[in-house]
């Protein structure tokens, strides 16, 4: 346990393939995916929309169980959702009829005693929502709602937290703030993090490694380690350099003619 000890594999994905049946035809969403995530590691998965990165996350979450190849969590094939894998979606997906406290306590099972438990209080505090326990989702800003969603995903103390473009719908300033919060939460909880994003800056800022995916069919193009100490300076030379390197992975062909056009 812990990031200091031996680094066991939390997630092991080998030769993963996922087909969708669309109008009598088959569309391959993911092909030949190989990825091993160590316990306590922070992995960013980046790709353009439609590259299958969310599908990959949904397979890890156990929401898509019809896949070929191996997807193992803690040495066992993933056949469905599990409380040891928390999920934060792009939309906060809070239940509009529950207060922040009740939403956070949702995963502990219903009942009053649960929603006043230590874990609920602690995680509301962790995401900085103390004082808003009685608020309903419609009274929260987008950033606050996403904080509550993170607390809800953490309340069962999952070993892995899966984040599916969690800040995609937030404004740029809130987004940066939330990225820093997530790092703090990661350190506090010691959970393995898998973040899916289309934001290069976000991927580099957060990840120990950045997994670059390409589209149709979705494959892993490259995995880039980010050996920068935290807190990372988005303006530093190394950071910018990495960002450009990843940028080039996506736009290598288009870059030159564009430069000449100017």
């Amino acid at each position: 346990m812990g990031r200091m000890g031996e680094r066991r594999a939390a997630l092991d994905i080998r030769g993963l393939r996922k087909d969708f049946v669309v109008n009598d035809g088959r569309v391959t969403a993911l092909q030949d995916i190989n990825l091993t995530v160590r316990q306590g590691e922070f992995i960013s998965i980046i790709g353009s929309s439609g590259c299958g990165k969310s599908t990959l996350l949904r397979i890890i979450a156990g929401l898509e169980t019809d896949y070929q190849g191996a997807a193992e969590f803690d040495g066992e094939r993933i056949n469905g959702p599990g409380l040891e894998r928390g999920v934060v979606f792009q939309e906060h997906r809070l239940f509009p009829w529950l207060t922040v406290r009740e939403n956070v306590a949702f995963g502990l099972g219903g009942g009053r005693e649960n929603s006043h438990g230590e874990s609920v209080r602690e995680h509301i505090d962790l995401v900085g929502l103390t004082g808003f326990e009685q608020a309903y989702p419609h009274q929260l800003s987008g950033g606050m709602a996403q904080r509550a969603a993170i607390a809800r995903a953490l309340v069962n103390r999952p070993q892995v937290l899966l984040l599916d473009e969690p800040f995609g719908a937030l404004d740029a300033l809130t987004k940066i703030q939330m990225q820093e919060e997530v790092l703090r939460i990661w350190r506090a909880e010691g959970a393995t993090m898998v973040l899916v994003t289309h934001d290069i800056d976000e991927a580099v800022f957060l990840g120990d490694r950045v997994v670059i995916m390409s589209s149709r069919p979705g494959t892993i193009k490259r995995i880039i380690p980010v050996d920068l100490p935290r807190p990372r300076d988005r303006g530093s030379f190394e950071f910018t350099h990495l960002r450009s390197a990843i940028y080039a992975e996506f736009f290598r062909q288009e870059e030159k003619p564009f430069a000449y056009a100017i």
Binding site: L83, F95, P96, W97, Y136
Partner: protein
């Protein structure tokens, strides 16, 4: 929406300022916003009253509002009115209870089991296309002219909107919320209790409200067709004895009680849904 309100408020403020500046004489009557909706009916009643007194309207066909009011008071003093109201309210109440209960049970079952839905729903949809009044002769034949046939008719009227709204509420529950339930490994029963039912509640309440409205419609039909008590009977009585004021008084009472009971449901709905920030 609030943006629009703000803009219009700002516009109003700006116009007021302009008016102040140019000292324009105010040409608009200042009626408080809350009672603006009352102005038109009040004017209609006043004009109606004036025309009746001027002899333009035939008194036996369209008596003056004041005459209707006096008729209401007389009926009330005679003591029979309260019993008519009581009988009608009891019919609507029990028909509503029975219809809503059956609709809730059936809607719940068809909503939660695709198999039951495929078996049951087509039949219910087919029954729905029968004009409800077409049941009347059959109910009279089966149940006689007494309370049970009337209450059954009302229950049938209440049933369909409640059933349809509950079912559609259940079937249109946001898949994304269901997924959250899945992520937390809720079993089927828990998923229904903790996600599907609360999510379907707004639609269900809409169904109850329109069901209640239909209940009031059907009680009139049932009572007109054969009753010895109730507000519908009072209308028929007024027609038989040529007293238009009694008919109009009954209409007013139907409107009043229909609105009152709807208001109760609206309040209940607001209490249940207010926390979600949705209008009801």
């Amino acid at each position: 929406m609030s943006d629009g309100q703000e803009t219009s408020q700002q516009t109003v403020v700006a116009l007021d300022a302009l008016k102040e500046h140019y000292r324009l004489p105010s040409l608009t009557f200042s009626v408080p916003r809350q009672i603006q909706g009352v102005v038109l009916p009040a004017v209609i009643v006043a004009v109606w009253e004036a025309l009746a007194h001027a002899g333009v309207l035939p008194a036996n066909w369209l008596p003056a509002p004041s005459v209707v009011a006096i008729t209401l008071l007389e009926l009330l003093r005679g003591g029979e009115l309260l019993s008519h109201i009581g009988v009608t309210v009891a019919r609507v109440g029990s028909g509503f209870m029975i219809g809503a209960l059956a609709a809730t049970l059936l809607g719940g079952v068809t909503g939660s089991s695709p198999l039951v839905r495929r078996v049951l729903d087509p039949t219910l949809q087919a029954l729905r296309s029968i004009p409800s009044m077409a049941w009347v002769p059959l109910f009279l034949l089966w149940l006689g002219i007494h309370e049970s046939s009337k209450i059954t008719l009302i229950a049938v009227g209440v049933f369909f909107p409640v059933y349809l709204n509950l079912l559609s509420g259940i079937l249109t529950v946001d898949r994304k919320l269901l997924e959250v339930g899945q992520v937390f490994r809720l079993d089927k029963v828990e998923q229904v209790r903790r996600v599907i039912l609360p999510a379907a509640l707004p639609s269900y309440l809409v169904g109850l409200r329109s069901g209640l409205g239909l209940g009031w419609m059907f009680v009139v039909a049932a009572e007109i067709m054969g009753a010895s008590r109730g507000l519908g009977f009072l209308m028929i009585d007024g027609q038989m004895t040529g007293r238009a004021s009694v008919i109009i008084a009954s209409i007013v009472l139907f409107a009043l009680f229909g609105k009152l009971t709807d208001l109760v449901l609206e309040r209940v709905g607001r209490g249940l849904l207010g926390q979600r920030g949705v209008e009801f």
